[in-house]
Symmetry: C2
Subunit: 519 residues, 2 copies
Amino acid sequence: MLSSHAARKTRLDTLRPRRHFSKPMAKATDDTRLSKKAYEACLPALREQLVQLQVQLQAAPFKILLIVAGEEGCGRGETINTLSGWLDPRGVETFAFREPTDEERERPLMWRYWRCLPAEGRLGIFAGSWYTETLREQAAVRAPKTTTRLDHELARIRHFEKLLADNGTLVVKVWLHLSKADQRRRLKELAADPDTAWRATEEARHHHRIYDRLARTAEKIRAATHQPGAPWTIINASDSRTRNLSVARLLLHRFAAHQKREAAKASAPARPKAPKSLKPAGLQRLLALPLDQKLSADAYEEKREKWLGRLNRAVRAAQAKKRSIVFVFEGWDAAGKGGAIRRLTSAIDARDYRVIPIAKPTDEEKAHHYLWRFWRHVPRAGLVTLYDRSWYGRVLVERLEGFCTEPEWKRAYAEMNDFEEQLTEHGIIVIKFWMHVSRDEQLKRFREREETAYKQHKINAEDWRNRRKWHAYEIAVGDMLALTDTPCAPWHLIPANNKRHARLQILRTATKSIEDALA
Amino acid sequence: MLSSHAARKTRLDTLRPRRHFSKPMAKATDDTRLSKKAYEACLPALREQLVQLQVQLQAAPFKILLIVAGEEGCGRGETINTLSGWLDPRGVETFAFREPTDEERERPLMWRYWRCLPAEGRLGIFAGSWYTETLREQAAVRAPKTTTRLDHELARIRHFEKLLADNGTLVVKVWLHLSKADQRRRLKELAADPDTAWRATEEARHHHRIYDRLARTAEKIRAATHQPGAPWTIINASDSRTRNLSVARLLLHRFAAHQKREAAKASAPARPKAPKSLKPAGLQRLLALPLDQKLSADAYEEKREKWLGRLNRAVRAAQAKKRSIVFVFEGWDAAGKGGAIRRLTSAIDARDYRVIPIAKPTDEEKAHHYLWRFWRHVPRAGLVTLYDRSWYGRVLVERLEGFCTEPEWKRAYAEMNDFEEQLTEHGIIVIKFWMHVSRDEQLKRFREREETAYKQHKINAEDWRNRRKWHAYEIAVGDMLALTDTPCAPWHLIPANNKRHARLQILRTATKSIEDALA
């Protein structure tokens, strides 16, 4: 059993994403049937191995995500229940993803999956998830979803699974395959037994009637989402015992291989190097920013009032349309992020916004993908989240301090662009600020903080340490500006040597961005 | 200003809960009005103090919960917005509690408030919360809620606020008072300005028409929830400037007093003493439990199958009625909790239950009340949560190891009873097991774990350490059994020297408890 999985896996792993499976799925034949006796003989050793897997997983630690999909009647629930019975339930969580709740509907599609992702050392089982939903949708409509729309969703899923796999999650995707004949037999069996008759629903019968069409869609879905790190394994579901064993063995096999890979990775230390600009255009844009604006206190106050009123109206207009707003504040230490946030929030009802200060992640956050802690704060419909520092830490401090590896931060640009695209696609208005001060201005403000009693808490040794890496940061900021300045979520560079000017420009930019998005 | 607050506070603090306010609320007079100039002169110093409060709060650290309630038109939102503008928004979260979401409706009433509680070092502002809701309900119905029902809700709220205050949260409750005449004036003002006309709603007008009735209810609510640690402060809201300053100064004042109290507490070290039984009846019940049951493997298997089937049907029947189930597993180390949970969950669809293993709290959990980590896992309607160890750790390991003070664990019995009562009131079926083995049996199992390769991860030095405290634990368990064995959530003592017998009895007890609850 193991060797055939291994062989299939190796073969599939070499396939590129989007390429269709080159071989038709194996048809169920009678010799895959397993006697009860033979089945039970396998169990003690298998269960022991599974428990050992969980013990090792906790020590590893990485995350396992097992996705179980398949044709109607393939026994998805049964398989998961059997497997759960073999595992220690304290380390496993299973999610069914039925109707989304209103809290889920108010966020981008993937939010509900993000919130259910397993933490390090744990195994998450997704019963169907996005695959089931996509297939069900396809079955429900007479005219299948337009190809473009489906392709777009599949790209989203492919990206999500890649992101998890890249981050060290072991993604195991199982397709429980049932032939048309087996499905007919299965539905008859279900209907015949009064205990299970309720499961032979009209929807199940409908799926059977359009088996061929759904099979083609399913194949397309699998092919489009079959990629290194998240390959599909098709398991014959005609015999439930064989099916159960196959899933368990696949899990064991993939785990052993993954464990080896992760161990090899861990031994390679992440050393921060002196950064080299990936895209000098960003750095040029940063350095070209004029910083010596003037603005009198009177002119500031007059304009501020005007813009605060207009911002207030813009935010309320967005709320009326259930549009949420996400602000990202990045900038040099002492560039005035806190002050700018205070001015901006003064135009918003306190009950409608939340400021998320990003410092060291909590241990729950550390046990997840780095984007998890930002996903969890995506606002509900009509509300506002302000991130005081953000996911961009990945390509700034984490890049420069070696908190993540070079492949990790290099991947992050695309991951963050995709994250923001998902937000904007859902109708969320994303507004990003880089607050820029000169090195001299920063020094002046640092000294002022040290000398002013009530500002001393705002400055520490780390700020001085970061300051010494100014030029390295400039390069990292430049790359960030160049690589994550997207049409849906552009960067706004704010000259901030003059605090009044900076605050006003932020008010103005925020207001206009919201107005434009609503226009 | 401060001194008048201080005076009122002292006076109110000496009142017992439930006792009505002895003095009528101060009427708004013209001399409470503050000129714009006088107001603005106060601000710089005040804002500085507020920022300092936040800096000190982070270092303290405890939590602040500011609850702002008041009559219709009192300017709750304005007050909160002004205060938020003075504070650093990065340390504040404001919640409005509008319509509950479906995720909230599926849990007990207080769940939505628990999930929004501030963490240590942070300030949470609840705009209205349970008070607004209760008042609105009273206003909406022609015949006010029956007194019993209202009293019950108020007892619930009083308990909740006491629990927070006992745990070191600074609870500041502000009632913004508006006289009938001022309310009329305010509504007229709102209606006259096109920018605010939308706020003079029909509901607001209705509230004005029944001002006197609502005022009586509000007074009753305040009196019933006015208690040490969570006193009400009534602030005259007729002049918005005075009102804003009063709220800010009250916050500063209460903070300073609280900080002193907390500092005094911290200096008293928690030393675990050799425990003395609080209620010997519990210990006697524990010691009297016969442990030498026999059960053949065949008899076990036959009965197990029968009970698993019946349990499965019972759980599905509960689901059909949207009734959730909460299991609590407590017991000696090596008593077989894990094994029992596996057998029990094998009767439930993996997509419908979640096992919550309780180990060391995460840092997010540590920053909250000890019940917070259990509240967050309360299941949605129709789902099952199994706690593998639970809140009872407070009166077991935390009591014996001195992780909490004596007043803390002594308070916990009532707190936990109340928690379980809230669950059962909401329709959740709560089933609690204590798995009991003899000391000799534990020794045998510990040795077996040490000698069996694949069981070694289940035993460590701490288990041996706990074992040496057997008799102390017996006393703590006895007290727990005696003090938390409530009609709505009784303890089931499971003799567990014989694993088969224990598992079967758990299946049987679980099934019957569910069946009884549904009957």
